[in-house]
Symmetry: C2
Subunit: 232 residues, 2 copies
Amino acid sequence: MAAKTVCLLSGGMDSTTLLYHLIDMGDEVLALSFDYGQRHQKELEFAARACARLSVAHKVVDLGGVSELLHGSALTSPNVKVPHGHYEDQSMKSTVVPNRNMILMSIAGGYAVAEGCGRLAVAVHGGDHAVYPDCRPQFIAGFEAVLQSGNYGRVSVYVPFLNWTKTDIARLGLKLGIDYERDTWSCYEGGELPCGKCGTCVERAEALAAAGDSGNIPGNNHERRLEIQTKD
Amino acid sequence: MAAKTVCLLSGGMDSTTLLYHLIDMGDEVLALSFDYGQRHQKELEFAARACARLSVAHKVVDLGGVSELLHGSALTSPNVKVPHGHYEDQSMKSTVVPNRNMILMSIAGGYAVAEGCGRLAVAVHGGDHAVYPDCRPQFIAGFEAVLQSGNYGRVSVYVPFLNWTKTDIARLGLKLGIDYERDTWSCYEGGELPCGKCGTCVERAEALAAAGDSGNIPGNNHERRLEIQTKD
């Protein structure tokens, strides 16, 4: 019997690849996205599109009230500038939303219990470990133990990309037929097109180039990007 | 220097006693309540009143979107009957909101990080252990470890009542000058007055009687209670 799985889906390349992977394995999937006041609301449209394409049930939970509490991150506050460059840089710490993964995964875990799902799938990966402590193996293992101790052990946490690079994820996604340009959104800025400069744009482009996809190499759409940025 | 503490406050007798205890210790307290669609919305008014009385900053977070996901508990669904009798009974399992404590504590933990608070205070106690796995020491210890691993170890979890009975809590509260009848709300039903029959009404009355407070002995207000119940 196929597993019944809740999949945390941001609409970015990692979680969209995870969704395709679960469907490829034959899981029955309930996709869950969060509106926590992120600048990059656009990713939610991409999440909905991916679910429609795969005929997956999709819910978007409004966490507006919670995001008000968690001020100070560049991802939710219009007053903090989104840093440009690599994820590994110290500057990326401003993209940390306090305790974000624990909050989102706890809600998703409750949803899994309520829906009788045996697992919760999350697209954390090795590239996130340096900056985001709540993406590290120790955090994930501890989280799973707490989730189980609080809910009669009913839900396991499925993190197939835990020690993968983003390039590994891109390779799997291309094999599964994902058109990343069309199907996913990553940029932390709220522009019409990806900025090409924030951490997630840079990493995405490098991963896709390394995996053999030429559609996202930095420099494409350069002029339209500049146009967007001057409007910000 | 006094600690800066986030206190999870439902407005019931346990968390209100915890709030008084923190203030008594000299903590700077930020109180946090949740509107998760509970029938007993009235407890939120009592939470606000207690904070006003103690001049404590108080926020109420709307978790309406989350509670829609976590259907099936008697505390949030109008279609599930609130069970009467003792907490220890099997019937009390219908008052379990899937993963509730992990969700609420995770959000409160994020709030503590965002506000630079060194601890998160939660009023779980020994009487809850039988039915609610997410009130047990193992859960709390695991939760604290995960919270710390996800947030650079900045927030500890303070659970002074973890192995207390409800009577122990009532004794402390009476010593701290709490008028439980006036200052707190416990009933799971949404009536004008406490029903006197649900698990939390029964436990509250027994604890207060055992601690020497005569204000909440079952049978008081009996006729007005019956009046309320026929309206339900």
